[in-house]
């Protein structure tokens, strides 16, 4: 029983690590992070070189973005489904915010931080959805 648990746990960790690495390789991706539900930072891969002194801020920022947006979107999508009777938008699985020079993708507990001009929305979105929504 315990062996099965550890086998499953390691499989999930390996998949997560592989996904984070794949995300990091997409053009335009600046940083990738995994967060807890209260916004604590778990791990990250980063392409940011020149911003190294800002990394802590960026990690914290993505964590805060994730938590704030998660609650906001659940509320919005719930209301949308309630009023419009349009199924399929709830529960909210992810959120994208594009502003200034950046785009943040948040799906479940993964945050991806990208350059707005160079981001391949389809690649990031499908990789996150394939690994976090369809596989779970």
């Amino acid at each position: 029983m315990r062996r099965h648990f550890w086998h499953g746990y390691c499989k999930i960790l390996n998949r997560m690590e592989k996904m984070l690495k794949e995300l990091k390789e997409i053009k335009g991706v600046l940083a990738v992070g995994e967060f807890t539900d209260v916004g604590s930072f778990l791990m990250h891969c980063s392409n940011i070189i020149n911003y190294s002194d800002m990394l802590k801020n960026i990690d914290e920022l993505i964590g805060v973005v994730h938590v704030a947006n998660h609650f906001m979107d659940v509320m919005k999508a719930n209301r949308w489904s309630l009023y419009t009777e349009k199924e399929g938008l709830y529960p909210v699985e992810g959120f994208i915010l594009a502003a200034g020079k950046y785009v943040a993708f948040i799906v479940r507990n993964i945050g991806v931080f990208c350059e707005y001009k160079n981001t391949d929305f389809d690649k990031v979105f499908s990789l996150l959805f394939e690994n976090l929504i369809k596989e779970v």
């Binding site: 800002m54 906001m72 399929g88 938008l89 992810g94 707005y116 389809d122």
Partner: protein, 113 residues
């Protein structure tokens, strides 16, 4: 006024609408009723104003350029709602190209290009 027909031509877009800053529906096209479109306009305008405040806070917190707001999207299990400026589209996740949606939304809303 935005060319909603252009947005409706994108594969996977099931509805498109334009709204004012105060949440009034300007126009809509697609597989939703007028009542649904009005709610859609209200929610999008409300979310726009929250997102604008959020990005200003992110900019001051991080010292990074998070302003102005270009747009946002929420993704459900089947559909996503994508908004840029005062234009929003409801899309089917399985078939839509988000690159195309955001490109056309940016051109039609004349922001974020």
């Amino acid at each position: 006024m935005a060319d909603l027909d252009r947005l409706m031509q994108i594969n996977g877009v099931i509805a498109a609408g334009e709204f004012t800053d105060s949440g009034e529906l300007v126009a809509y096209k697609g597989e939703i009723t007028e009542e649904q479109a009005k709610k859609f306009a209200e929610i999008c305008a409300m979310n726009n104003s929250v997102a604008k405040k959020q990005v200003e806070e992110f900019s001051s917190l991080s010292g990074l350029n998070w302003s102005p707001l270009h747009g946002w999207a929420i993704a459900g299990p089947e559909y996503s709602l994508c908004v840029m400026g005062n234009i929003g589209v409801l899309v089917k996740n399985e078939v839509v190209s988000f690159n195309e949606v955001f490109k056309v939304l940016a051109e039609e809303s004349k922001i974020g290009g």
